[in-house]
């Protein structure tokens, strides 16, 4: 629990909207750039992984932001 | 289009017609060498004597025309194509073949000095717009049967003649195949200039760097061919292409080899330095004045501060205004007729610079920076490279505006990374520095003595790697040795 509270306190300091945008940017890049590129190379699995990384990054970053700003 | 119909061989002869495109043919050839023999020398007796029509036709083909190049064509399309290319089509009634007579001749610009790559020592001839003239210019320089010239037509509508030049026993076949493959892949309706080709065959489309070397100089092309590169000549343009191109090759001028090696090396070092200055000088000004004045020597820092006293704009605005103005002047200078262009350049530069300083829009140090940058960018021999670095200069200026010196270095690193990823027909763009080829460094930042460059560039993986006998003694040494005896 100490570690968890440490992490939360750290996040309050440094998890800001800029970081969220950064992660969302990476996620979008994964979904739209990498996934398509992989697909055109014929690597379906990689394309899928890329897409999922992107989606989960976006979701998690927004979720964490809500968590940090409004809940804890 | 001219149709000239008459009856060949008198009353017993056949109806015949000459078709050609006005302006594309040499009228004297038609009058003297085609029409005169066909009309006056092919007499009725010839028709009588001929036992058959076939024989008559052969007689016409073999003996009647005093023109060097004659072809028989059966297809309509082909003959139309050749007609458009300046051949004369000769039709005889009753025969299913057309005779194509070479009588090409059109008004063209003579061989003049290249405008974009002027040098002091070296040949003054430059390519002109006619492909055949251009190939002849190369041929005159390399009298080797291994110099192959292949001609293909590209462009659905323009059907432009493209000549592929290479040394069959030097050029690496993989590169050659690559070039041919890429040329054959092109599907477009028009090739109006070699710039079209360049964009179709280069490796990376959106890179600011040219990956194909364009040149107006036949000696440059000949030297390239002898290094194992492939030359591409396009009809209707004086600009030949040389592939593969590396940054190093684009920074060289053919004059480097004509001068003694120390001078050649010195000018080359200056050129690289000038290119670097042209790239970073304005951004360094921004970074040093507004981020890190501690790096400027104290007295200079104080005088820069004094010169900027009263200038309302931040340093980056100053830099963008002045650089923008210079680019404007440059572009305008190119478009204006040449006598006026120079005047406008000088007058504009002087007046704008002077007025801007006295109006307190920019500091005087900025004017010096801009002038130095502009001058430096003219020292780059290849226009395409100079323009690429001009563009990147603005990128670096943006980086410097935000992150100072750190931004500049970061910008340079990203440019370098980009160049590291670039390849021109399989040859690394940064060769020979990277991949590191120590033997090729003789012809990079410096130009070593011609006797020391016994091998062709190794990154070209040429079939015949040696320029001269590798084990041969230096002539100088040899002469001294003889003198001692």
């Amino acid at each position: 629990m100490v570690i968890l509270s440490d992490i939360f306190s750290w996040m309050k300091y440094s998890y800001n909207i800029g970081f969220v945008f950064f992660i969302i940017g990476v996620g979008l890049g994964s979904i739209f750039l990498d996934a398509n590129q992989m697909k055109s190379k014929g690597l379906t699995r990689e394309s899928l992984v890329s897409k999922w990384i992107g989606i989960s990054y976006i979701v998690i970053s927004i979720f964490l932001y809500i968590l940090v700003e409004f809940i804890i | 289009m001219v149709f000239r119909e008459w009856r060949i061989g008198g009353e017993q002869g056949f109806d015949a017609a000459l078709i050609f495109v006005e302006g594309m043919v040499d009228k004297t050839v038609i009058n003297e060498e085609i029409l005169r023999p066909l009309m006056f020398e092919v007499e009725e007796t010839k028709v009588d004597k001929a036992t058959s029509n076939e024989e008559f036709y052969h007689f016409i083909l073999k003996s009647a025309l005093s023109v060097a190049d004659i072809k028989e064509v059966e297809e309509y399309d082909t003959s139309v194509f050749h007609l458009m290319a300046g051949m004369v089509v000769f039709l005889i009634d009753g025969f299913s073949k057309a005779i194509l007579i070479e009588a090409k001749g059109w008004e063209h610009r003579g061989i003049t000095e290249p405008e974009t790559e002027t040098i002091i020592r070296g040949p003054r001839d430059g390519f002109s717009e006619t492909l055949r003239v251009n190939t002849a210019l190369i041929r005159r320089r390399i009298r080797d049967p291994n110099l192959k010239i292949e001609t293909i037509q590209i462009g659905r509508r323009t059907k432009t003649d493209i000549a592929l030049l290479y040394m069959a026993d030097i050029a690496e076949p993989k590169i050659l195949d690559d070039v041919k493959g890429r040329l054959n892949d092109i599907d477009t309706d028009s090739i109006l200039e070699s710039g079209y080709l360049e964009q179709f065959i280069e490796d990376t489309w959106l890179s600011p760097f040219p990956q194909v070397q364009a040149t107006e100089r036949p000696d440059e092309v000949a030297a390239g061919l002898l290094e194992g590169r492939v030359g591409i000549l396009t009809d209707n343009t004086p600009f030949a292409l040389l592939v593969p191109a590396t940054l190093n090759s684009l920074m060289q001028s053919s004059e480097d080899y004509y001068q003694r090696w120390l001078i050649g090396s010195f000018t080359r070092l200056i050129r690289f330095f000038a290119n670097f200055l042209a790239l970073v000088l304005p951004s360094l000004y921004i970074a040093l004045t507004s981020f890190h004045p501690e790096m400027i020597p104290t007295r200079l820092a104080l005088s820069i501060a004094a010169s900027r006293e009263g200038v309302p704009f931040p340093a980056f605005m100053e830099a963008f205004i002045m650089e923008g103005a210079i680019e404007l002047l440059r572009e305008a200078g190119v478009r204006l007729p040449s006598p006026i262009g120079q005047t406008v350049g000088i007058v504009g530069g002087l007046i704008i610079g002077e007025a801007a300083v006295s109006a307190n829009i920019v500091g005087s140090i900025m004017v010096i920076t801009v002038a130095l940058t502009a001058i430096s960018s003219f020292a780059v021999p290849t226009y395409d490279v100079a323009i690429a670095f001009r563009l990147l200069r603005f990128f670096l200026m943006i980086m410097a505006t935000f992150l100072g010196l750190y931004g500049i270095i970061l910008g340079l690193m990203i440019i370098l990374s980009h160049m590291a990823t670039l390849k021109s027909f399989g040859v690394s763009y940064l060769s020979p520095w990277s991949p590191f080829a120590p033997s090729d460094l003789k012809d990079s930042l410096i130009r070593s003595p011609i006797m020391a460059m016994r091998k062709r560039p190794s990154f070209m993986s040429t079939k015949d790697p040696d320029r001269m006998d590798v084990n041969r003694r230096d002539p100088e040494e040899k002469r001294n040795g003889e003198a001692d005896k």
Binding site: R45, V49 | W433
Partner: protein, 367 residues
């Protein structure tokens, strides 16, 4: 005839050596004089001797391992040697080490930038811009990075050493004394531990199968180590000789501060330390992209992905988060010390260990 370098995943032994040097010369090198002096006092300038021997040993076992499993990276062979689960654990530890090391380097770098060039720019911006740009060449695979590293090495290392040459007149060689006052054991121990901060050796875990002439890789990496340790030797020795033991231990980054003491009549550039710091930007850049490449390649191999490209940008937020995690320089130093110990484990102990187990369990090729 030399092969055309058109395939995107091969590097020459020379390029491997250059990469090893470039990756190791990161921000940590500037603190070497301090950390080493803290360990062994004035003898710290001698550490390169045992350090070179120990790192050579590590390199030797890594090369032997790679010969046992030709064409395989450590991701595959450690799983073969240690079994799937322990092997995977080891791989994950190494990947985590790379990710956190690059975060550590970035953070140290950003701190240096903030102190020397950009006083008020948030470190987030410095780290972010560096990370974003350094990821670009990593996406194109190992070859462009080797290209980049060569140019960077040929530009920055001479500049750095040139600047160092100006410091030498101030050196007082009494500061290097006494030597061998505390017995060789301490020196040997320090030499062994210093192997942990040579990140370049870890490249061999992944890069050995990418070498065009595998036979030359041992020779090339030995050369890299020799160059590396001589650079460290020069830096350490000069710094210690100029500052003396106490001042070295007092300074945060003696390797940087020393440039500020250069006393030259004003050149074109007033403060050479800024130029020096600027060259560090160029040195850090390939290191970061290399670690990104290593981590993503290993991850891709671990999960059986055919393309490492897609993992590079997704790794950046993780590194970014880790880089801005420590609140101040002291914490960064603690983390750096901790990572150095992990590094000792990864390249000081594991190669030998893996090699022995492979021999005992008769895994790998018939070497």
């Amino acid at each position: 005839m030399r092969a055309l370098l058109r395939d995107n995943d091969r590097i020459t032994p020379f390029e491997l050596a250059v990469l090893m040097v470039i990756v190791t010369l990161e921000m940590g090198v500037t603190t070497f004089p301090r950390t080493m002096t803290e360990k062994v006092g004035t003898e710290s300038w001698l550490i390169p001797l045992p350090g070179f021997l120990f790192s050579l040993l590590a390199v030797y076992f890594l090369v032997r391992l790679s010969k046992l499993f030709p064409g395989k990276t450590f991701v595959e062979y450690s799983q073969e040697i240690l079994g799937s689960i322990i092997g995977k654990l080891f791989v994950i530890i190494v990947i985590a080490f790379w990710v956190s090391t690059s975060a550590r380097i970035l953070r140290q770098f950003a701190d240096v930038m903030k102190v020397n060039l950009l006083f008020r720019t948030p470190i987030e911006v410095i780290i972010f811009s560096m990370l974003l740009f350094a990821a670009y060449p990593a996406r194109y695979g190992i070859e462009p990075m080797a290209r980049l590293a060569i140019i960077v090495a040929f530009v920055t290392i001479p500049v750095g050493l040139f600047l160092f040459a100006f410091v030498i007149p101030q050196a007082k060689f009494d500061n290097l004394l006494p030597v061998f006052a505390q017995g060789p054991l301490l020196l040997l121990k320090a030499g062994f531990l210093s192997v942990g901060s040579l990140e370049g050796i870890e490249l061999l875990l992944v890069l050995l199968p990418f070498i065009t002439q595998p036979r030359k890789s041992l020779k090339a990496s030995t050369w890299a180590l020799a160059v590396l340790w001589s650079i460290i030797f020069i830096v350490n020795g000069v710094v210690l000789a100029v500052f003396g033991e106490k001042e070295v231990m007092y300074l945060l980054r003696p390797g940087l501060t020393i440039i500020q003491t250069i006393e030259l009549p004003t050149l074109f550039v007033e403060r050479l330390s800024s130029v020096y710091v600027a060259t560090w930007v160029a040195l850090i850049f390939p290191s970061i992209s290399m670690f990104l490449f290593l981590a993503s390649t290993s991850l891709a191999k671990l999960f059986g992905l055919k393309e490492q490209k897609i993992l590079i940008y997704p790794l950046t937020p993780v590194i970014f988060a880790l880089a801005i995690l420590p609140s101040n320089v002291l914490e960064v130093e603690n983390i750096a010390n901790f990572l150095e110990q992990i590094g000792v484990f990864i390249i000081g102990i594991m190669p030998l260990f893996l090699f022995l187990i492979a021999k005992i369990r008769k895994k790998g090729g018939s070497y």
